[in-house]
């Protein structure tokens, strides 16, 4: 009964949202952008003194997180492809 209520029984091949994963293996890195925005939405909701500046702060913080991720990517790329081959 509980299984049926949750849609567990049957539905072998059908995709069920929130139960089965999405096939986003080739574009996974784009998912970091909405994550950055959602982090900024939650964080700035409790940290911004003046809510009039809220969305501007969310935009700025999202951009900072995204730039930080890109920076880490470039740093890792340089270490793996340039620094480590020089050392080893």
């Amino acid at each position: 009964m509980a299984d049926a209520a949750l849609g567990v029984v049957g539905g072998v091949l059908a995709y069920t949202p929130f139960i089965d994963p999405l096939n986003l293996h080739k574009v996974w890195f784009w998912l970091l952008i909405p994550l950055s925005v959602l982090i900024a939405v939650a964080y700035k909701a409790v940290r911004v003194p003046d809510m009039k500046k809220y969305w501007r702060q969310v935009g700025l913080f999202s951009a900072q997180i995204i730039v930080g991720i890109i920076g880490l990517y470039v740093f890792s790329l340089l270490v793996l492809n340039w620094l480590l081959p020089m050392v080893v």
């Binding site: 509980a2 949750l6 072998v12 809510m51």
Partner: protein, 207 residues
């Protein structure tokens, strides 16, 4: 200086708001009259949590197989525990190998010790399905085996399959990261509701 101390009180503890924030993201702020803050915090936290589930499936919340991640996700509150309960009890199955008795009937035998080890509760594999069967269980206390109704992973027949598809690789990692960030951010929201005097200027930003 005096004015600054008035605007930023050194002490302040709102237990009721903290408790409500633990029960549901943003509820502590709503209780304090900060509706906009509460709603936006809830939107961010729940957006991340359910966004993670949308990307990686229900498998991203798993207190048994990914317990260290779950410790972080648990800060989302009862919602995280509810999702984990549903996953453990409605989707997973025990990996008890089927045996054939003298009459040719398929039976399942295990022990309480094996139920915590090689026959433990696990995700159902793609070639399997989940069925609730009578299982003969030898208890740790000894004595005759007990018959229990347990979910068992059995080979899938035609038209059958697992109750959920287990997320793998990057999709699972990103989904789990989403849910973990939701928990970590909600911890900040809970602390902000619990200690309101440690944050902004008094009266600022009431939504």
């Amino acid at each position: 200086m005096t004015q600054t101390q008035t605007q930023h009180p050194a002490h302040g503890l709102d237990l009721a708001a903290g408790l409500l924030a633990v029960l549901f993201p943003g509820l502590g702020h709503i209780k304090r009259g900060e509706f906009k803050r509460g709603l936006l915090a809830a939107a961010g936290v729940l957006g991340m949590f359910f966004g993670g589930m949308l990307i990686g499936g229900i498998d991203v919340v798993d207190s048994r197989e990914d317990k260290w991640w779950f410790y972080g996700e648990a800060f989302v509150g009862p919602i995280a525990f509810g999702v984990d309960w549903a996953y453990q009890h409605q989707f997973k199955a025990y990996g008890i190998p089927p045996e054939t008795d003298a009459t040719g009937k398929t039976v399942y035998r295990t022990s309480e010790r094996q139920l915590l080890a090689e026959h433990r509760l696990r995700s159902v594999f793609p070639h399997e399905t989940r069925k609730v069967e009578d299982v003969s269980v030898i208890t740790n206390a000894g004595g005759p085996p007990q018959v229990r109704r347990l979910p068992v992973a059995v080979p899938a027949g035609p038209g059958e399959g697992p109750p959920n598809i287990k997320g793998l690789a990057k999709v699972n990692e990103i989904g789990t990261l989403y849910a973990l960030c939701a928990g970590m951010l909600n911890l900040i929201v809970i602390l902000d509701a619990l200690f309101p005097s440690l944050r902004r200027g008094r009266g600022a930003g009431h939504g």
